[in-house]
Amino acid sequence: MSTSLETANETSSSLLTPEMMSRLERMELVSRKIFRGRMKGERRSKRKGQSVEFADFRNYVSGDDLRFIDWNLYARMDRLYLKLFLEEEDLHFFTFVDDSLSMNFGEPTKYYVARQIAASLAYIGLCRGDRVSVSTFSTAGSPVVLRGKSNVHRLLGFLEGASANEKSPPMEEAVKKFCLRNSGKGVVVVISDLMNKSGYESAMRMLVAREMDIFLIHLLSPEELNPNVQGDLKLVDCEDGDTKEVSVSAVLLQRYQQTLANFIEQARSFCNKRSITYVPARSDQAADVLVNEYLRTRGLVR
């Protein structure tokens, strides 16, 4: 414990406070699916291997390791059976943060909250010895892959250094790069506001095709949820400079709310259909509350 506290103190940053870190250390990431890990870890694997936990029997075929033959069963049945044990492996955990300019809105900004969430989840993974891969849309091709709690400073260093930028590719392109780079399966947490004119659907489909356990944290700022605007305005899109002229009226705001609800509902139903866990979130909500309560109930952590 002393080491973890020390680490927490050393790496205390704006993203993760020591209190948050101490809380996060007691958690672990859960996957609804069981994946094959690359290294021996603390999780059960699909693979049968060497562990203390019995899994199954199977017929002996020539070439099998004689050490796993169940001699008691041979004595009873006069046949050779092999005892299979569950293999324990590590978990591949990916966080994928949208760093487009639209994430720069809100107080605190959506991007900050997104990084906080990513840091929290990654920290949990590091504490449990999982393989943690952190990347943003613009660094999708070169993620930071970490293992072990000692690497927490690298994690935080990377996240703190990242900033929302206009070079951030569209979601589809970013996900394509991500998939090409990360061949393995695992848990992927995508944190985005989904404010993408070309849509998020194809990108998500690509992830689904990799049979990964996908979590989509849909992060929206209060300005987007309840726009506090008045009068005749010319709205300018911060990403592509697109303008929209509106005369704000109660009717218009009502219609906006309707559109927003539709947008969220569409995303939710899209995700539900594809076994993607959809987690709506507000940027004005504390990240640890989100991690502690929302993601716990959604089953990502426990």
Binding site: F105, D232, Q258
Partner: protein
């Protein structure tokens, strides 16, 4: 509900252009504020169905526009002046007779009775249908047709507005005659109605707006006139007024003056107040006055002898009518008449000229006929210093520049002055010896005895004379020139006449008291020992001398004419009114001036030519119990008919347009608030 178009066609067009303008302003968007958002994705989706680009879809549910259009609709509606009238009266002829006498200045109804009456007439006018014709008459003690029959309401309203309060007393009969003349066949109408359609003599309704300060109208034949009496004012309005105010000499104490006033209380309550007397603007006396309800009281101020002055009596009492709370009187300038008596010797005449009363008004200088050829007299027209020159048994060579009285002598001819030829002759010869035939005055031969048959009672000089017992031994008939007046007629013809000569008057008596004959001076008549002789002399001095006899200046009611007897010595006079207005008076052939511009209450002073001191004063006072009595009549007695007041009759056209405009403004305000605060949409 009916409508009155309040706007002209161009104005309507302008108004009609506003709604499209408002609509177009909604399309011409205002300059928009730039706002950066994270993404326009959601806004784009939101606007997609609004942006169907249908105009009507855009206008749908735009409350601001609806409010503005509602405001405009109200504005247009208001301009149509919707309203309803109490009664339907179409094609009527109405005569609005408005009282603007002094009592209508009473402030018992705010702001004044006259204003209320005008307001009521305006209401009546607004109620009238467009076919109705109306006429406006204002009356006080005279009637004034402000507007003849017309359908033009604007002119009628302007006529009503032009009515100003006067200080005159009330006499409605002239106004009713004027109205009746237009309504009844066979009566004359007014002359100056040329540009307006003159009403045929058909029945008309007279709306009489007055407080009823006039008495019984007698048997006024109104013919087809229907009179509606609308009383103006509160019944039982209290008022205190001065009913008379005069100043006179104290009969007992020669050097004292008495100012006397009669004050009436027309209210239901007894009143007590202070009456203060001012002379020339300075307070000299005050007295507490108590008057019981509906009673009158007199007050007396004793004053030291003063030469002249302006007196004002002020009642320190607040009531509805203030004009009768101040009364004016003036002590006349004490300026005796200059009389020159030219006589060879006539003790009776001299005695008559030196009686007490005569002395009070006249300075008499006695000269013998030689004075007439005195170089001093001839050199500087001495006669112009005299108001009256009496020639007894003598005559001048030419007529002097003053009024004259010839007693037993003939005035010189006006046409042929014979100054040079007469110079050598003795005055007596001039007077008696010349049988100078005056071209203007015609004289008969001396004959006798003369018996006076008739005396002209209408002339001030002879009005008090009783000549029946007078014995006249010899006299000649006197025929005045043109414009002359015969004052005494004897058995043989006129013996006393007066005739104007330019601004002057000459009186010629055909017989003298004494007669110089070759046997000496003989008595010609016993008139000089009769009582009527000094009366005659006094009257002559008073009349021909422009005599001012009374201490107190005359006073008249506002609007009434005043006759002024002014000295002949000046041709031009000016009257200064209480407000300082100067009115020029020019002498015509009359010896008396008539001044009519007495509308203002107060002190009027008459100045001669360039003189600093006033020659004469007179006052205009509202000494009228009827005007001071502010009680509103409940009915008019018109002969046998009694016209009851119909106060509830005035049912004005109820105008809505002001209210609609008000609501419109509220709508505009709400619109503005919503626009600024976005409280609803």
């Amino acid at each position: 509900m009916n409508w009155i178009n309040a706007l002209s066609w161009p104005q309507w067009l302008l108004l009609a252009a506003i709604p499209p303008a408002v609509l177009s302003l909604y399309f011409l968007k205002l300059k928009r504020k730039r706002l950066e958002v994270s993404s326009t994705l959601l806004w784009r989706k939101t606007l997609e169905d609004i942006h169907v680009n249908s105009i009507w879809q855009r206008l749908r549910k735009n409350l601001l526009l609806y409010l503005q259009l509602a405001f405009l609709a109200l504005l247009i509606l208001a301009c149509l002046r919707p309203g309803w009238s109490g009664q339907d009266r179409i094609g009527e002829r109405r005569i609005y007779v408005i009282d603007n006498s002094a009592s209508m200045q009473a402030t018992d109804t705010s702001p004044s009775r006259l204003e209320l009456a005008k307001e009521k007439v305006k209401n009546l006018l607004s109620e009238t249908a467009s076919d109705d014709v109306g006429m406006v008459i204002a009356f006080s003690d005279r009637a004034d047709v402000r507007q003849g029959f017309t359908k033009d309401k604007t002119r009628l309203l302007a006529a009503v507005d032009s009515i100003q309060p006067t200080n005159h007393p009330t006499d409605i009969s002239e106004a009713l005659r004027a109205a009746a003349g237009l309504a009844n066949p066979g009566r004359s109408s007014f002359d100056n109605l040329s540009d307006i359609q003159v009403a045929d003599a058909i029945p008309a309704t007279v709306y009489l707006l007055s407080d009823g300060g006039f008495g019984d109208l007698g048997d006024s034949d109104l013919g087809q006139l229907k009179v509606e009496f609308l009383p103006i004012g509160e019944t039982g309005t209290a008022n205190v007024g001065v009913l008379s105010f005069a100043v006179q000499r104290n009969e007992d104490k020669k050097n004292q003056l008495e100012a006397f006033a009669r004050i009436g209380n027309f209210g239901e309550e007894p009143v007590e107040f202070t009456a203060s007397l001012e002379i020339n603007g300075e307070l000299v006396d005050a007295s507490s006055v108590k008057v019981a309800a509906k009673q009158e009281t007199g007050i007396l101020f004793e004053l030291e002898q003063i030469e002249e002055g302006e007196l004002a009596l002020k009642l320190d009492h607040e009531d509805a009518l203030s004009i009768d709370n101040t009364a004016y009187a003036a002590i006349r300038p004490n300026k005796p008449i200059s009389v020159l008596l030219v006589t060879p010797g006539n003790s009776a005449l001299e005695t008559a000229l030196t009686t007490g009363r005569c002395q009070r008004i006249a300075n008499v200088r006695v000269e013998s006929p030689t004075f007439l050829i005195d170089s001093a007299y001839l050199a500087n027209d001495t006669e112009s210093l005299f108001d009256l020159i009496i020639f007894d048994q003598c005559a001048p060579t030419m007529m002097p520049e003053s009024n004259t009285l010839f007693m037993g002598s003939k005035p010189p001819s006006l046409s042929e002055p014979k100054k040079d030829s007469d110079e050598s002759k003795k005055p007596s010869e001039v007077a008696l010896g010349e049988a100078d035939f005056s071209k203007d005055w015609q004289f008969g031969p001396s004959s006798g005895p003369v018996i006076i048959l008739d005396v002209n009672r209408s002339n001030p000089m002879t009005q008090y004379l009783e000549m029946g017992s007078v014995v006249i031994l010899e006299g000649m008939t006197v025929t005045p020139p043109e414009n002359g007046t015969v004052l005494m007629t004897s058995d043989s013809g006129p013996v006393f006449a007066v005739a104007p000569r330019g601004p002057f008057q000459d009186a010629v008596l055909g017989f003298g008291m004494l007669q110089s004959t070759s046997e000496g001076i003989q008595v010609n008549s016993d008139w000089s020992i009769k009582r009527s002789f000094p009366v005659f002399v006094y009257s002559v001095v008073e009349y021909l001398g422009g005599g001012i006899t009374e201490t107190s200046a005359p006073t008249v009611l506002p609007g009434n004419a005043i006759g002024l007897t002014l000295s002949n010595r000046f041709d031009n006079y000016r009257v200064v009114s209480p407000t300082g207005q100067k009115i020029e008076l020019t002498r015509n052939n009359e010896s008396r001036f008539t001044f009519t511009q007495t509308d203002q209450v107060g002190m009027y002073s008459v100045f001669a030519d360039e003189m600093e001191r006033p020659m004469e004063r007179f006052c205009v006072n509202l000494f009228s119990g009827r005007e001071s009595e502010l009680t509103v009549a409940s009915a008019i007695q018109m002969g046998a008919d009694k016209i009851e007041a119909t106060s509830n009759f005035v049912r004005a056209r109820q105008e809505l347009w002001r209210w609609i405009l008000g609501v419109g403004l509220v709508v505009l305000m709400v619109e503005w608030v919503i626009f600024n605060r976005r409280i609803f949409i």
